[in-house]
């Protein structure tokens, strides 16, 4: 039942309503609304009960193993949340004077320094509010750099065909043409195709390493040389930074600009689809173009850097200082992990992925790149099951829900047919991974003996498969 359907005219929550004179006569009627907005009139208890019940219809990291590839669904420590909600942080107005902001600014400055170190970049701005905005900032900086050099013939961004959809969409937003580069059969970028594609029109290349195929791009140094020699810059999509945190610094691989997804690698909550945070890091030559605001330190005093201090900046991306509360959570996480904890993230994420891959292989499942090591994730293909049993990756995914596991990412990357992109993360125990493997084995058996159990799954959730065509055709987007 919708919250609106529980509403009774005239019901209100007096405990939440200010007891202040509300009569006013200074705003003429032409500016006022003539009917109340259609908000529900429900009691506080009804609200608490309704949204508690709704929450129980969700799968989440706190309730289920959630191996959604490329999303790094690791445990979100509770301590990070409660410390970010301390009154001094939660109640600080974004335009407070610096002398009422030193505690907050110190955290932001420290986080900038930590991120510089783990990525090997020369400067970091925390401004972008999500990975996609970080990408935008990054590509806009590439454009600003070429423009500053009067190098206006560079009109193309290269993107491997396995890339996230945000990469080409971002390049378009920066008015670049997108040229796709194919992948070879071992999952690396096709170097011959890359050599043929670069030229004086190349502004840069956007790469994820490890790639979205779950493997480390081994020829990264050659790629960097090819692109740099052609005058282009290298963009690092930090979607998979969890796999190499503390082990390899993107700066050492030759990248000029990177973004990080703090909601992945630094374990801030995914929140049902945001908020994220997508800080960017740059090499020396891109320092003048970083987005504002940033935080500077002089002695023991912290201050905000804005457009006036950095007039060459690619600009401002949010009204204030990005998703500050998310940044605080990431900072707490980084301080708990510390120097020695950073590389353990990569190590145990990699151990878990390789262990799952080994066990699934042993159980007879096919891997997309069976000769490669898994990074923090790997791709399983159900092409055989589809061909022989007419059971799809989607069917397996839905049946996994019945077994109490969130499905891995399905049908991405598009290059691999009937695929699962599986990312267990470092915070899962061996027992949890074993449980998932057992469920896959059971579903395989069901697919062989009673395939309709799988093809009509899920059977135990609040709803069965939904009619997406109807949803898009008979648009019902608001309650009337």
């Amino acid at each position: 039942m919708l919250i609106f359907e529980q509403s009774s005219t005239g019901r209100s929550n007096e405990a939440q309503i200010p007891d202040i004179d509300t009569k006013f006569d200074d705003i003429p009627a032409a500016f006022l609304r003539d009917e109340s907005p259609g908000l529900p009139e429900v009691s506080e208890m009804q609200v608490v009960r309704h949204y508690t019940r709704l929450s129980q219809k969700n799968f989440s990291i706190d309730t289920q193993f959630y191996p959604l590839g490329s999303c790094t669904m690791k445990y979100n420590p509770r301590g990070c949340n409660s410390l970010a909600l301390l009154p001094g942080f939660a109640q600080r107005h974004p335009l407070s004077p610096d002398n009422l902001s030193q505690g907050f600014l110190a955290c932001m400055y420290d986080l900038q320094e930590i991120l510089k170190d783990v990525t090997g970049m020369h400067g970091v701005s925390l401004a972008p509010m999500a990975g996609a905005q970080g990408e935008f900032a990054g590509v806009a900086m590439i454009r600003a750099y070429h423009d500053a050099n009067n190098d206006t013939a560079r009109t193309e961004i290269l993107v491997p065909d396995a890339a996230h959809g945000t990469n080409p969409a971002t390049a378009t937003m920066c008015n670049y043409k997108v040229k796709e580069i194919p992948t070879d059969k071992e999952g690396d970028v096709d170097l011959e195709a890359l050599r043929a594609a670069v030229g004086p029109q190349t502004a840069g290349i956007m790469l994820t390493n490890p790639s979205t195929l779950g493997v480390f791009e081994r020829k990264i140094k050659e790629i960097a040389t090819i692109v740099h020699e052609a005058g282009g810059l290298l963009y690092y999509d930090g979607a998979n930074l969890n796999a190499i945190l503390g082990k390899v610094k993107p700066g050492d691989m030759g990248f000029d600009v990177i973004h990080m997804n703090l909601h992945k690698t630094f374990s801030t909550p995914h929140g049902g689809g945001g908020p994220g945070a997508g800080p960017v890091g740059v090499s020396k030559r891109l320092l003048p173009y970083l987005p504002v605001p940033m935080v500077a330190r002089q002695g023991d005093t912290y201050s905000v850097i804005d457009e006036d201090d950095l007039p060459t900046s690619m600009g401002r991306l949010s009204a204030f200082m990005g998703n500050a509360g998310v940044l605080i959570r990431a900072y707490v996480y980084a301080r708990i992990l510390g120097r020695e904890g950073m590389h353990r993230v990569a190590e145990f994420a990699t151990l878990n992925a390789n262990y799952m891959m080994a066990r699934l292989k042993q159980a007879g499942f096919d891997m997309a790149f069976k000769n490669r090591r898994a990074t923090h994730e790997f791709i399983l293909t159900l092409k055989k099951q589809y061909k022989e049993l007419h059971v799809t990756a989607m069917d397996f995914a839905k049946r996994l829900l019945d077994y109490g596991y969130h499905a891995p990412t399905t049908y991405f990357p598009l290059l691999v047919p009937e695929c699962f992109l599986i990312e267990p993360t470092e915070t899962e125990s061996q027992q949890e991974l074993d449980g998932f493997v057992e469920a896959m084995i059971k579903i395989q058996k069901e697919a062989e003996s009673s395939p309709e159990t799988v093809t009509t799954a899920p059977h135990t959730l609040p709803v069965r498969r939904l009619d997406d065509v109807k949803a898009a055709k008979d648009l019902d987007l608001t309650w009337q």
């Binding site: 006013f24 609304r33 081994r218 909601h263 509360g325």
Partner: protein, 465 residues
């Protein structure tokens, strides 16, 4: 090992299953020359107790400030239930509801949010949110360019009464795509766009942006401006504060046919100030333009048994399907903040929301009356306003800000940085969270510093013999 559950024994068993001797061996595809030489600036790890102490000390440095600043971020009471529920793990640690059957909680909540926001703005449809108010204006501009097929110029009329940071963000995000902004000047008496000052022959333009209330808190002539834009075949992009819509005319009813796209920041609906984020961006529009709208949209549908359910819809607009031809590169929204806002709006209801809005407005009027008695301060702009006002001082505004912040009062926001003509002015907002005592304390502090500085200015004057 923080947050890593593995025991020595399990590590050994797992390595055996893989067929390697060490974790290190799993990284053997990475060229040795690329391996990190170690971290220098990352400090040693801390326990939760230690980091808790550090963070409490830092938070305490910024605490106790009595806040009279608004300028796009407003301190309102947030019922305890809002964040108690929002931080339930099932909301907090879920992701984008790709697996609809396992995400009905988030999906239904987003559908309820869309319904509430559409009703508040008086528009047909709402998306499930964007990043913040400023970036939602940028996305609204891009959307207007896609939606207005009659206009060929990608030219946007942008009043200077729109939040200066919003204008900057709109430029940053859209200028690569050839979009240009023509600034509209405001009247110095009213602090609003004077309808009689609009160009008689503005030429082709794609959209007019109308802020309500505007950055100064002043109310714009929304009906006349909306009609004027429509007469010139342009779309109207409304920038609103959702709290104000509890009492102000919703954009869907502006002028003859209403605004076309509505954006703004949802922060006043249950998001703490939190240094500027995370907040969330509002985006609503008329039905005809829904396929041009960016971001996630939730639809109500049925399952195989005909039972009602909710799912992401119109995904063909989005980057994961359309790639370089998508409406935007946006991927996530601000789901957690929308969760808070939906719970907030449910708890407050129409009465709670309108009481909060009017209580804030009346508190600001109280402050105006109090400052009316103080020499050397006067309110600028003679137009109707909502819960925020501009004051002009006879003394340097930085003296005011410094004197008040020494008493842990955030005095407001100085405007001269963005509006050189408004030197020594402060934009001040008093929400329902302030008491009569707070307002007196503010006015007394202003009175003291004004008297002190003007006295020292006078004593510094050369005296005529």
């Amino acid at each position: 090992m923080p947050f890593i559950p593995h025991t020595e024994q399990e590590i050994k068993a797992m390595l055996e299953a893989i067929g390697v001797d060490s974790i290190e061996q799993l990284f053997d595809e990475i060229p040795a020359a690329l391996r990190s030489k170690g971290l220098e600036k990352v400090p040693q790890g801390l326990s939760e107790m230690e980091v808790g102490r550090l963070m409490r000390e830092r938070a305490a440095q910024d605490e106790r400030a009595l806040c009279f600043a608004g300028a796009g971020a407003y301190e309102h009471h947030i019922p305890a239930a809002v964040w108690e529920l929002t931080t339930r793990g099932e909301f907090y640690s879920a992701y984008t509801p790709y697996q609809a059957e396992a995400s009905q909680g988030t999906l239904q909540l987003l559908y309820e949010y869309q319904s509430m926001m559409a009703s508040l703005t008086g528009m047909d449809v709402s998306n499930a949110s964007l990043y913040d108010g400023a970036s939602s204006l940028a996305e609204a501009v891009l959307m207007a360019v896609r939606a207005n097929r009659k206009s060929k110029t990608k030219r946007i009329l942008m009043p200077r009464t729109v939040h200066p940071h919003y204008r900057k963000v709109a430029h940053t995000i859209t200028h690569h795509q050839g979009i240009t902004f023509d600034e509209l000047e405001y009247g110095r008496e009213g602090g609003h766009i004077d309808i009689t000052s609009l160009p008689k022959d503005p030429g082709d333009f794609t959209a007019l942006v109308i802020p309500q209330p505007n950055f100064f808190g002043v109310l714009e002539d929304i009906d006349a401006l909306t009609n004027w834009a429509h007469e010139h075949n342009a779309l109207v992009i409304a920038v609103v504060n959702p709290m104000s819509l509890a009492i102000l005319k919703p954009p869907g009813k502006w002028g003859e046919i209403g605004a076309d796209i509505v954006c703004g920041d949802g922060q006043p609906m249950g998001a703490p100030l939190s240094s500027g984020g995370p907040y969330f961006g509002i985006m609503c529009c008329r039905k005809d333009y829904v396929r041009q709208m960016p971001g996630r949209i939730i639809g109500r549908t049925t399952d195989l048994d005909g039972k009602t359910g909710f799912a992401l819809t119109l995904q063909a607009r989005e980057q994961h399907i359309r790639r370089s031809k998508a409406t935007s590169n946006i991927c996530t929204n601000q789901g957690l903040l929308v969760t808070a806002a939906t719970i907030y709006m449910s708890l407050m209801g129409p009465k709670g929301l309108s009481t909060t809005a009017t209580a804030s407005h009346n508190n600001t009027r109280q402050l105006i009356s109090a400052l009316d008695q103080v020499a050397g301060v006067r309110k600028l702009f003679n137009r109707p306003f909502f819960h925020e006002a501009v004051f002009k001082f006879d003394i340097p505004v930085n003296d005011v800000i410094d004197a008040l912040s020494a008493q842990s009062i955030v005095a407001g926001v100085s405007l001269e940085h963005h509006y050189p003509e408004l030197d020594n002015t402060l934009l001040v907002c008093v929400t329902e969270t302030k008491t009569a005592q707070d307002i007196s304390r503010y006015a007394e502090s202003i009175s003291r510093i004004s008297a002190k500085v003007s006295a020292s200015q006078q004593s510094a004057q050369p005296t005529m013999a």
